[in-house]
């Protein structure tokens, strides 16, 4: 019950912020909040993997990039030259490929974002399985370095491959029409709609993960974090559950990548960079590791501040400092540490 109240309050806050910013004529805030929402989707997914199941991933930006680049490549590909092929004509008949024109008026036949979304999902799961099976056998530093290595490889591939636009990335990604009238992307006019699309996704994601935590599978994940030896002694098949949560969190990241790429109309290699992965880890750490709400709040806060440029040229340094500060002084996360401090002070006052 408690979780539904929290979720409803989140929804209320989301609506109040939108109304407030519209009334004050400051809708431009919503852009950063929309982007922050998508980044938060990655963070809460990683929180599940890192905080609850105890498996660090220093390569989560890679999954974001896999989603983003898959949709970018597929939806910007021109199938005009292949209209004679049977698959393409079948796609057109099913409405999964749409003719149009590009900026210069050249005829364009592009795939529907729905296909791209499905493709991104499949590719993400396949890569998560291929990487996850060997990597999740590792522990500690080895796991950290292996996931970091995976992240760097993906980064290098995006940077060095012509298909992915090398250092320029891919731009001109069309908007993602979910139902007519509601689309991810597409400029200033769609600001409010996009804000709600992003936040509905975050709310749904949170609900799914909050449910998961208190379920049988969630308990198995938490017990793996607690003690692998004891977990297998009560019949939990550890590799299976680790892989499961790895795939789930990869899918969250990939979905965020797909949506943000459509929202921004493009994606660049920096999204796959090591620093991005480290940011997600920092956010989960500040949020208190095994704390979905803390992660969400910190993610929105930090991403929003960062996107609005409050950190200036110290952007990365801020995240570095946060990582060290939190891990040195408040390894349980900032919210919990403050709460215990306050509670202790209240107790002292009561005694007096």
């Amino acid at each position: 019950m408690k979780r539904y109240i929290s979720i409803l309050s989140l929804a209320a806050v989301v609506a109040v912020i939108q109304l407030g910013s519209t009334l004050c004529g400051r809708e431009y805030y919503l852009t950063q909040l929309t982007m922050a929402a998508y980044y938060s989707l990655v963070a809460v997914g990683l929180c599940m993997l890192m905080g609850y199941a105890g498996q660090i991933s220093l390569g989560h930006a890679a999954f974001f990039a896999i989603g983003g680049y898959t949709t970018a490549v597929l939806t910007t590909m021109n199938l005009q030259a292949h209209t004679s092929s049977r698959i393409v004509s079948l796609l057109v008949q099913c409405g999964l490929a749409k003719p149009g024109t590009d900026l210069y008026g050249v005829a364009q036949l592009s795939l529907s974002p729905w296909i791209a979304l499905g493709g991104a999902g499949i590719i993400t799961v396949v890569i998560a399985i291929i990487i996850g099976i060997p990597v999740l056998k590792l522990k500690g530093h080895y796991l950290a370095m292996a996931t970091l290595g995976f992240g760097i490889i993906v980064y290098r591939i995006t940077l060095g491959t012509g298909l992915f636009g090398q250092a320029d990335g891919i731009s001109g990604v069309p908007q993602f029409t979910i139902v007519p009238g509601i689309a991810i992307g597409g400029g200033f006019a769609n600001k409010v709609i996009n804000y709600y699309i992003a936040w509905v996704m975050v709310i749904c994601g949170m609900l799914l993960l909050l449910n998961l935590i208190d379920s049988r599978v969630g308990r198995a994940l938490k017990s793996i974090h607690g003690s692998e030896e004891a977990a297998s002694a009560i019949g939990i098949h550890i590799p299976r559950y680790k892989l499961m949560v790895f795939i789930i969190s990869a899918l969250f990241a990939s979905l965020a990548g797909v949506c943000l790429t459509h929202y921004n109309g493009g994606i660049g290699p920096s999204e796959a960079g090591v620093m991005k992965s480290v940011r997600y880890v920092a956010i989960v750490a500040v949020g208190g590791m095994a704390n979905l709400w803390g992660t969400l709040i910190m993610s929105v806060l930090l991403n929003y501040l960062s996107l609005r440029g409050y950190f200036g040229s110290y952007d990365d340094a801020v995240f570095g400092a946060i990582l060290i500060g939190i891990m040195l002084f408040a390894p349980d996360g900032i919210i919990k540490t403050i709460r215990t401090k306050v509670e202790a002070r209240v107790k002292v006052k009561v005694r007096e």
Binding site: V135, K137, Y142, I152, I153, R156, I157, V278, A282, I324
Partner: protein
């Protein structure tokens, strides 16, 4: 044909020996504390950058000397501020702290030395001077790199085997409790290992800088490659790291002949992943011992 092969081999060995030094830096700290210092690559960068700055108004040997000392002090500072007073921190916590440190050092370097690519001047001669080895023309700096890296390895061996301090550090790494019962101040030994690690990193950074040049963010890729080499040789085993470093350096150099330059970084990382998957104890490590080292 032979000339070109020799050229490749020498350049592979050069870059490989830097990886080896980075890996040894990891090993020194790992052996003393069980921590992988993700900021190891930054030591190399800071060493080179400091030497470059100092060399503007100091003779080269002095500039390098001070750079090494400053980086060693940086190592000590890190240990004292962020490691020493933690009570049995979890591995995850240590990973995150050292990652944070590497970011902070890198960002500080960005603000001190900006984004410009710099390089230390050549120890002997200049960019165009060369010596001939088996018909291949190579920069004398390559000989400096190989020579100094070899010297570091030899000196470290002597230090750890024959000096009291070196032996004390080794005692700490094999059994902290027993070492402190013998009257060794284990905490100071840990600080010392950070200093040592910083110092050799800085020295390696200085000798390689004229060839590969230095930028504020060059530490990251050296760190991951150094780690790849350390794991490849078997974590904690410094002599194996030297062999592994040279192998990785050679593989990387020869890979340029068959694949685009942009992917060469992926080579050592791919090696890292393969070794981690199939032989986590390393190429030269003992399989059983590797399994025991699950932490």
């Amino acid at each position: 044909m032979l000339e070109q092969t020799v050229q490749y081999i020498l350049s592979g060995l050069t870059i490989g020996s830097i990886y080896a030094i980075a890996a040894i830096g990891y090993n020194i700290i790992y052996n003393a504390t069980g921590i992988i210092n993700f900021a190891q690559g930054e030591f190399i960068m800071v060493g080179a950058m400091t030497a470059i700055t100092l060399s503007a108004f100091l003779p080269l040997p002095l500039a390098i000397l001070f750079a090494v000392i400053i980086t060693a002090l940086l190592g000590a500072l890190i240990e004292i501020c962020c490691i020493r007073w933690l009570d049995r921190p979890s591995v995850l916590r240590m990973i995150i702290i050292t990652i944070g440190l590497s970011i902070l050092i890198r960002e500080a370097a960005l603000h001190i030395w900006d984004e410009k690519v710099r390089s230390l001047r050549f120890f002997t001669g200049n960019e165009v001077s060369s010596v001939s080895v088996f018909g291949a023309h190579i920069s004398p700096q390559v000989l400096w790199v190989l020579g100094i890296c070899a010297l570091i390895v030899v000196l470290l061996n002597v230090f750890f085997k024959y000096t009291l301090t070196g032996r004390s550090i080794r005692a700490c790494s094999s059994d902290k409790m027993a070492a402190s019962l013998c009257g060794i101040n284990t905490r100071n030994m840990v600080t010392l290992s950070f200093m040592l690690s910083g110092a050799i990193g800085a020295l390696a950074g200085c000798v390689i800088s004229p060839i590969t040049q230095t930028q504020y963010d060059c530490g990251t890729h050296l760190a991951i490659k150094g780690f790849a080499v350390a794991v490849f040789g078997g974590l904690g085993n410094s002599m194996a790291a030297v062999a592994a470093g040279l192998i990785v350096g050679l593989l990387e150099t020869f890979s340029i002949t068959v694949m685009p330059l942009a992917y060469t970084d992926a080579i050592s990382i791919a090696i890292l992943l393969l070794v981690l998957f199939f032989r986590p104890s390393g190429l030269f490590g003992n399989r059983e011992a590797g399994r025991l080292k699950e932490f």
